[in-house]
């Protein structure tokens, strides 16, 4: 089996949006997939960006939990 060359966290983060937009080579995709599998920090960023894109692209309105506005306001005023 061919070895998948390692990729650094910093390079992965530079390529993340290209990866999500499917604009990377198969080789780079494999390197990113391998890295995300073992790196919890990059996986968290990866999941966050992907969730954000999904959220924005669906255009749906989200119902906020009860008391959210009051808690948010309190946090703002306490800064």
């Amino acid at each position: 089996m061919e070895q998948i060359i390692l990729i650094t966290c910093s390079e992965l983060r530079r390529e993340l949006s290209n990866y999500i937009e499917n604009d990377v080579s198969l080789e780079l995709r494999a390197r990113i997939d391998q890295h995300v599998e073992v790196c919890p920090d990059c996986r968290a960023i990866f999941d966050g960006v992907r969730n954000l894109i999904t959220l924005v692209s669906t255009g749906e309105l989200i119902e906020l939990p009860r008391g959210f506005s009051a808690r948010l306001y309190r946090r703002f005023t306490s800064l």
Binding site: I5, L6, E11, R74
Partner: protein, 153 residues
Amino acid sequence: MAQDQQEISVAKTEYREAYNNGDVRCLLSVFATGFTDCSDGEPSFYGSESRRALELRASELFQRFKVELFVIIIDIIVKGDFAFDWGWHKMRLVDKKTGESSDTKYRYFETWTKADGTWKINYIITNKEMPPRMLPEEESASAETATAGNAAS
């Protein structure tokens, strides 16, 4: 990615594969002559001793265990013919006799030197990663947020 960083990534991949294949010769080939070895749980070795010490240690390790090494490189910085990188080594050891396995995560820092057009590890230091722990001020802030959240709902 810059050419030198790519070459170091390839060398680091060979390092990983050497562990995963139990290949002592391949492992040694990634290190410069007379490198410095400050690996976790070992005395420091310098000069010609470091190569022999690594050879003995790796041979013993590969004889007893099947190694699965996962490498996370945070970044590689290149300054001419000198470079350094840092990250984690996640090592799973599977005992060849009993099948028992253990996982250890190490932090590592390495320096690299380019000699005859090839990047080699010139210095390596590793130590065991510890479980995450909140600082006291973060703990109290977290408790306050939880209390405020409970009161509001």
